[in-house]
Amino acid sequence: MSSTATTAPGAPGPHGASEADDAKSRRDFLIVATGAVGAVGTGLAVWPLIDSMNPAADVLALASTEVDLTPIQVGQAITVTWRGKPVFIRHRRDEEIRKAREEDADGLIHPEKDSARAKKPEWLIMVGVCTHLGCIPLGQKAGEPKGEFGGWFCPCHGSHYDTSGRIRKGPAPKNLEIPPYAFVTDTTVKIG
């Protein structure tokens, strides 16, 4: 600090050593305190700018989606939109359910029981977004590849999902996500 430049550090000042040291430590404290307040203030000022990039209120207030399940025959699947993402609803066949339950014990990459993934075993409801890098897996339509485990196959980087939407092979780290949902009636489901 230039104002103390005439006084060598540790040398007695015009009013004695203790007063000079005292003034120095007080100045240091003021500088540190000013810096700290300045840093906190800058952080507080910057936060609104950063937070403004988070999902806005209208985006967060997205309505939930209600789906009528009656037209979906056994073995069929439909895709609905929820929060801008596709949601897969598959009316599973008995053998698909049996296969998924039998494979509960197989060495799964992300172990989850099929019973924990489907509230009603015949209805598998999940977010149709590959947990690798967000592509939409194929397997909803009749002619599409279903992968080596009879479920879904992501064409982007080759992830295979089984009949419970669990990751079995490929780069994806997790099973297809299960959105929050509830059966309003036996044939109507509310997602979100």
Binding site: I50, M53, N54, P55, A56, V59, L62, T79, T81, R83, G84, K85, P86, H132, L133, G134, C135, I136, P155, C156, H157, G158, G170, P171, A172, P173
Partner: protein
């Protein structure tokens, strides 16, 4: 204006009045006229000024395009089709901008490999080199966001795949991705911020280019023999010698660049991007633009977990590391000789790296199936081995050829 010694004397009174208060003309004179450049620079030294030339084209066309573009998911794609069909010369301006991105990367990649070959990263040019690597990183981000603005299928799904990379970050990954998107998927908030950043980042690049040039003019240009400038006889003034040479290079470059603009404007593009973005249908094969393919190949090469770290996170870290590792190069190459011209072993490995990068690009362009997976993994492994093992070992054990005493000695011997 006359030059007496180093400082110019301005005869025009207006110029002199300004220069005495803000030495703008003196700065320009010193950096673009009097700058003492090595007398032996070859055509590989054209690419720096060429890159600046392309940057100016990109900013000029981009500013005009922004006047006609609408950053909204329901209008973005159509506003670009309007630019192509209705706006006066819109087709030309857009094709110049679109192919300019490819031209920019061709020029900058050649500039980068020039630096690698002639050891331009070595002391005292480390910081100059690091600023260059940062410029390339920001260029990639800018190009990626610009591609998203088109709002075609490749735009949308490219944006989805790349932003999902950040979900690999432990604990806060999903929150970061929602923050990047401003929602729960790539949507209108994402498009808006990408437009804002696509306009901002070129200005950041321009600022970094100023630093890059400042550092260059402080430490002076490297040259094909990699020997420092030792006397005034080793240099010639930038103007007229290199201005004329650079202009000739611009002419040759423009023949190729405009050739694409007028005769094959969609050569570098993906047909899928002329389909409007559809969040419910993923294209069967997502590929980035060609200049990002090697990095995409590195990202996908990691298909296995290491201990408890998931493959996805390692892939992302590896991809970013492949660029950041260049920043360490000045300290990985221990050889005292700069130019590969006098380093027989290093030179051979340089070409292996070039081939490796082409292999990575080829793998990145193909689906991750069959032999592309092991090929991509081998090429990725070599890429890192090259920088972390080959370069340090070669620099320690190689016996370089005799290096000329000075630039002028080398030039006169040849003449």
């Amino acid at each position: 204006m006359t030059t007496t010694g180093t400082a110019p004397v301005w005869k025009n009174p207006v110029v002199r009045w300004i220069d005495e208060r803000l030495p703008l003309f003196t700065l320009m004179h010193e950096s673009a006229v009097a700058y003492p450049a090595p007398r032996n620079l070859n055509y590989w030294w054209n690419y720096g000024s060429l890159a600046l030339f392309v940057l100016v084209i990109m900013i000029a066309t981009g500013v005009v395009l922004a006047m006609h573009y609408t950053p909204h998911t329901s209008m973005a794609f159509d506003s670009i089709e309007r630019i192509m069909r209705d706006v006066n010369y819109g087709w030309l301006i857009r094709y110049v901008h679109m192919n300019g991105a490819s031209a920019f990367f061709i020029v900058v990649y050649i500039h980068l490999f020039r630096g690698l070959y002639y050891g331009s990263y070595k002391a005292p040019r480390e910081l100059l080199w690091i600023i260059g690597v940062v410029i390339i990183l920001i260029m990639m981000a800018t190009a990626f966001m610009g591609y998203v603005l088109v709002w075609g299928q490749m735009s949308f799904w490219g944006a989805t795949v790349i932003t999902n990379l950040f979900s690999a970050i432990p604990l806060v990954g999903d929150n970061i991705v929602a923050w990047l998107w401003g929602g729960f998927s790539v949507d209108n908030p994402t498009l808006n911020r990408f437009f804002s950043l696509h306009y901002l980042l070129p200005m950041v690049i321009l600022g970094l280019v100023v630093l890059h040039l400042w550092a260059l003019h402080t430490v002076k240009s490297n040259n094909p023999i990699g020997v420092d400038i030792k006397s005034p006889g080793d240099t010639i003034p930038f103007h007229p010698y290199y201005t004329i040479k650079d202009f000739f290079g611009v002419g040759v470059f423009m023949i190729g660049y405009m050739g694409f603009v007028f005769f094959a404007p969609n050569f570098f593009g993906e047909p899928d991007n002329y389909i409007v973005a559809n969040p419910l249908v993923t294209p069967p094969h997502i590929v980035p633009e060609w200049y990002l393919l090697p990095f995409y190949a590195i990202l996908r090469a990691i298909t296995f977990d290491i201990w408890f770290i998931p493959a996805k996170l390692i892939g992302v870290v590896t991809m970013f590391a492949s660029i950041l590792i260049l920043m360490l190069l000045p300290w990985l190459d221990l050889s005292k000789v700069r130019s590969a011209r006098f380093r027989p072993v290093h030179r051979q490995f340089f070409w292996v790296l070039v081939i490796d990068c082409f292999v990575l690009g080829y793998v990145g362009a193909n689906p991750p199936e069959g032999y592309f997976i092991p090929l991509g993994q081998a090429a990725t492994a070599y890429y890192f081995l090259h920088f972390l093992v080959v370069i340090p070992l070669v620099s320690l054990f190689e016996r370089p050829k005799a290096v000329p005493d000075s630039i002028s000695a080398a030039v006169l011997k040849k003449a």
